[in-house]
C-alpha cells in the first residue's frame, strides 16, 4: 500500500448523482497528483472550447500524492478548471488541511460537473458523500460560511473550502478560502464554483494513509527536511514570510509602483517586513509543514493572516498605498469576499491611471486608499463602478482603452515583479499556461536576486524551460513552493511515499509532460504564440529609478527570446507543440490525435 489511494469522487450537480470511480494507476505514474492529475482528469472529457461558466465546465480537486504523510509541506490541494478570466486551463493550489483531509477521507481527487438547482455544498467523509442545501448562505462571506458549514455538518473538525459572494457573483478573479487563512483560485475558480451554485466543499476524514515502508519513509523524510534546512529558525520564509521580498524588490528597482509606472516606492519602509512584524501576534503553518510561513497580524481595524508579498505589492505600492493598516484591511476583505488580491489590486491600479490620465473617470486615483477599500467590496458585489472592476483589466481595456497599461497576460493580471528589473520573469509570465503568473517559474531568484545579469535574454529561455519543468513536477507530486527541493530529492520523497525508485530525470520529464498537456489544452481552446506577449508598457517605457533605470527591454529582443523558448520546448514557431514532441514525452495517443485533428481543422 502506498500514499496513492486510487479513488476519485465523481459529482454531477445537475442530476445529483455521486459515485466513486477508480483512478487508473497509469495516470498516477504519468501525471502523479495535484496539478498533473488534475490536468489529466480535466482533459479526459472536457472540450477545451467549453464556456467556463457553463454547467459543462468541470472543477477538479486533486491532492498531492504525498498529502497525508509526514513529508513536510505536502498537505496541498490543487483545483483545476477552465478559467473564465482567461479562457485557458487554470490550476491553483491551497494549503491548510484540505489536501491531507481528502486523503484521510479515502480519495485522491474530486471531479465536479453540472450545476445545482439551488445554492448547495458538497459534504464527504469516508462513509458518505452528499449534496446538501446551502441556500441560507447566499451572499455570506467565506469566514462565516466556514463556521456555519461546520455547524450544519455537526462536526467542528470538518475542513471547508468556502466560496464567497465574489464567486457567487461570478467576478472573474474570485477565489475561495479555507480555515480563514489560506486562499486559492487565480483565474476565477470562485466564479466557476458560483456558476455551479456550489457554495462550499466540506471534507472530513479519519482513515489511515500508508507508505510502502514506514521506517524508510520516516528516515528519508527526516534526512531531507534536515538537508534542505526547512525548519531552520533563520529561514527567511519562517522569520519573515513573503513580506521580506518588499526590500528585495525595492532595492532591485522592480517593486510595482503606480501601476508599474515605477519600480521603487517612496513609502516602502511603511509596508515592508519590518513594519509587518511590529503588529505580528503569531506564526502559523499549514498541516505537515516544518517551515510556517504564515503571519497573523493585528491591524488597528482588522486582523489578517498575511499579507503576502503579492498583496503588499499590488494592493500597496502599485496603488500608492503606504498604509500597513489599509493593506491589512484590504487583504482581510478580499479573503472574506473571495477576491484574488493580485488581480483586485491590479484592476484598481488600472482604474486609477485611467482616471488620472482623463481617459475614463472611474472615480479613484493613486493613493486614495479609503476608496480602494470600498472598491474591493463594490467589485465583490458588482455594485456601481465595481461591476466594471469585476471584469478585469483585459475586458476593461477592450472597452475603454489603455491597453498598454492594462497589466495582464492573457487576461490574468501580472504579479509583484516588474520584468524590466528581471527580464526572464517576462518570459515566465507569457509562457505560464494560465496567464500572468509567477508560479510556473521564478527566475528572479537566479537573476535580480542571484548571479545572472537581469537585463539580458541570453540564456534565459533555457533557464525558464528548466524551472517550469521542475516546478510542474514539484506541484504535482508534490510539495509547497517554499520547500526549495531539487528534483533528485523530490524523487526520493516520492519513492518512499508512492513507491518505486524515481530519478531526477524522470521527475523533470513528468513536469515537462504536464506542461505540454496544459499547452495543447490552451492551443485547442484557441490560443497560440500570438497571445504570448506582455503589456506595451514594459517595452515602450523605461523605469526611472533603481538598477533598471533607463534600461530598455525592447519587444524585438523579447520576441526573439520567445522563438528560442519555443525551439527549446520542441514547439513550432507559433508556439504549438509538435506531435513528435508530445509522443516523445509519452502523452497518450488519444490526446495527440485530438490535438492533431484540431490543428488540421482550425
Amino acid at each position: 500500500m502506498n500514499s496513492f489511494i486510487g479513488k476519485m469522487l465523481n459529482v454531477d450537480l445537475t442530476s445529483g448523482k455521486i459515485e466513486t470511480v477508480s483512478i487508473p494507476t497509469e495516470w498516477a505514474e504519468k501525471y502523479t497528483g495535484q496539478k498533473g492529475l488534475g490536468t489529466r482528469i480535466l482533459m479526459e472529457d472536457l472540450d477545451p472550447k467549453t464556456d467556463p461558466l457553463s454547467p459543462q465546465n468541470k472543477i477538479v480537486m486533486t491532492s498531492s500524492i504525498m498529502a497525508g504523510t509526514i513529508v513536510s509541506c505536502s498537505a496541498k490541494l490543487a483545483i483545476a478548471t477552465k478559467s473564465p478570466q482567461t479562457g485557458t486551463i487554470t490550476d491553483g493550489s491551497i494549503g491548510g488541511h484540505a489536501g491531507a483531509e481528502l486523503k484521510y477521507a479515502g480519495y485522491d481527487a474530486i471531479c465536479i460537473s453540472g450545476k445545482a438547482e439551488e445554492l448547495s455544498y458538497l459534504y464527504l467523509d469516508p462513509d458518505k458523500a452528499e449534496i446538501r442545501s446551502a441556500a441560507e448562505l447566499k451572499g455570506v462571506g467565506t469566514f462565516e460560511t466556514e463556521i456555519r458549514i461546520k455547524e450544519m455538518a455537526g462536526d467542528p473538525q470538518v475542513k471547508v473550502l468556502a466560496n464567497g459572494p465574489a464567486g457567487e457573483n461570478q467576478v472573474l478573479f474570485s477565489c475561495i478560502s479555507t480555515e480563514r487563512y489560506r486562499q486559492l483560485g487565480r483565474g476565477g475558480i470562485g466564479a466557476v464554483m458560483g456558476s455551479k451554485n456550489l457554495k462550499a466543499v466540506a471534507i472530513r476524514g479519519w482513515l489511515d494513509v500508508h507508505v510502502p515502508d514506514m521506517k524508510e519513509c520516516l528516515k528519508v523524510a527526516k534526512e531531507l527536511h534536515a538537508a534542505d534546512k526547512i525548519d531552520d529558525a533563520e529561514y527567511e520564509i519562517y522569520t519573515d514570510g513573503t513580506p521580506i521580498l518588499v526590500d528585495f524588490s525595492q532595492e532591485s528597482g522592480l517593486l510595482p509602483t503606480d501601476n508599474f509606472q515605477e519600480g521603487t516606492f517612496e513609502g516602502f519602509e511603511k509596508i515592508n517586513s519590518a513594519s509587518m512584524k511590529e503588529v505580528r501576534a503569531a506564526k502559523k503553518a499549514c498541516f505537515s509543514c516544518a517551515i510556517a510561513c504564515g503571519n497573523y497580524l493585528k491591524g488597528s481595524k482588522s486582523d489578517v493572516e498575511g499579507p503576502e508579498y503579492e498583496t503588499i505589492a499590488l494592493c500597496g505600492s502599485s496603488i500608492r498605498n503606504d498604509s500597513r493598516d489599509r493593506i491589512i484591511e484590504i487583504n482581510s476583505i478580499c479573503d472574506d469576499v473571495g477576491l484574488d488580491t493580485i488581480s483586485a489590486g491590479a484592476v484598481i491600479a488600472y482604474m486609477m491611471e485611467m482616471t488620472e490620465k482623463g481617459l475614463h473617470d472611474f472615480g479613484i486615483r493613486f493613493g486614495e486608499t479609503e476608496k480602494a477599500v470600498e472598491m474591493v467590496r463594490k467589485i465583490a458585489f458588482k455594485e456601481g463602478v465595481g461591476a466594471e472592476g469585476a471584469m478585469g483589466t483585459k475586458k476593461l481595456a477592450d472597452k475603454y482603452g489603455g491597453a498598454e497599461f492594462a497589466m495582464h497576460v492573457k487576461g490574468m493580471e501580472i504579479p509583484g515583479y516588474d520584468p524590466r528589473g528581471s527580464w526572464a520573469m517576462g518570459l515566465a509570465y507569457v509562457s505560464a499556461p494560465r496567464g500572468g503568473c509567477h508560479m510556473s517559474a521564478y527566475p528572479i531568484e537566479a537573476e535580480a536576486w542571484g548571479d545572472l545579469d537581469p537585463y539580458t535574454y541570453e540564456g534565459k529561455a533555457d533557464l525558464v524551460v528548466g524551472l517550469q519543468n521542475s516546478q510542474f513536477a514539484k506541484f504535482s507530486m508534490g510539495v509547497c513552493d517554499f520547500w526549495p527541493v531539487a528534483s533528485d530529492n523530490l524523487a526520493k520523497l516520492y519513492s518512499v511515499t508512492y513507491g518505486g525508485k524515481w530519478t531526477a530525470e524522470e521527475v523533470d520529464i513528468i513536469g515537462e509532460r504536464i506542461f505540454n498537456l496544459q499547452r495543447i489544452f490552451n492551443i485547442m481552446a484557441g490560443f497560440d504564440g500570438g497571445d504570448d506577449k506582455l503589456p506595451g508598457r514594459f517595452h515602450q517605457e523605461n523605469l526611472k529609478s533603481g538598477p533598471p533605470k533607463d534600461i530598455s527591454m525592447p519587444e524585438e529582443a523579447f520576441m526573439k527570446s520567445m522563438q528560442e523558448y519555443y525551439r527549446l520546448r520542441g514547439w513550432d514557431d507559433k508556439g504549438k507543440p509538435t506531435l513528435e514532441k508530445l509522443k516523445a514525452l509519452g502523452v497518450e495517443d488519444r490526446f495527440v490525435q485530438q490535438y492533431e485533428t484540431y490543428l488540421a481543422t482550425s
Binding site: G68, T69, I70, S72, Y104, F143, I147, E179, R180, Y181, W206, L207, D208, V209, H210, V211, M214, C217, L218, K222, H225, I230, D231, A233, A281, A282, K283, K284, A285, C286, F287, S288, C289, A290, I291, A292, G294, Y296, K298, D303, E305
Partner: protein
C-alpha cells in the same frame, strides 16, 4: 515525567501527530496520535491547544479491566486486557486517549523514553520537564 510545551511557539503543523501515528500505528493518521494539536484562526484570533497525557493517572484508577498501569515514568495500556470500553477516555480530563484500528485505547508512553514528537517538532515546542523531588531537582 510528563511532556511540557511552549504553546506560543507552536505553529500548528501537527508533525508531532504524524510522527506519533507513524511510529506507533505504522500509518499516518492524526486521529490516532497520542498528542493532539488545535491551531485555529477564528474571529477572536489564533487559538492554540495542545493535548497529551500529563500522567494524572485518573485512567488507571477508573479502568474497569485494570488494563492501565504506570511504571513510574509513563502510562502503559495492556492491549490483552483492554476491551475498548472507552471509560479511560471519558475520565481523562485532557482528552488524551485515542484508539488503534481495533478500538483499543492508546495513551502516550513517551515512546518508552525517546519521544518522537520532540524529535520531529520543527520549532522545539515540546520538551521534558525536570521532575522535582523532595530532596531537590532530579532530571528525567
Amino acid at each position: 515525567m510528563p511532556l511540557r510545551v511552549k504553546k506560543a511557539t507552536c505553529t500548528g503543523c501537527k508533525l508531532c501527530q504524524l510522527a506519533c501515528s507513524g511510529w506507533h500505528e505504522r500509518c499516518f493518521n492524526p486521529e490516532k496520535a497520542r498528542i493532539n494539536v488545535e491551531h485555529d484562526y477564528n474571529e477572536k484570533g489564533i487559538h492554540i491547544g495542545i493535548h497529551f497525557c500529563n500522567q494524572c493517572n485518573k485512567c488507571i484508577d477508573t479502568c474497569p479491566e485494570n488494563a492501565i498501569s504506570s511504571n513510574g515514568k509513563w502510562i502503559l495500556v495492556d492491549r490483552n486486557l483492554c476491551i475498548g470500553c472507552k471509560t479511560c477516555s471519558k475520565t481523562c480530563p485532557l482528552d488524551a486517549v485515542r484508539y488503534d484500528s481495533e478500538g483499543k485505547s492508546v495513551i502516550c508512553d513517551l515512546c518508552e523514553g525517546e519521544p518522537q514528537c520532540i524529535d520531529w517538532c520543527p520549532k522545539e515546542v515540546i520538551y521534558f520537564r525536570e521532575k522535582k523531588t523532595q530532596a531537590g531537582r532530579e532530571t528525567t
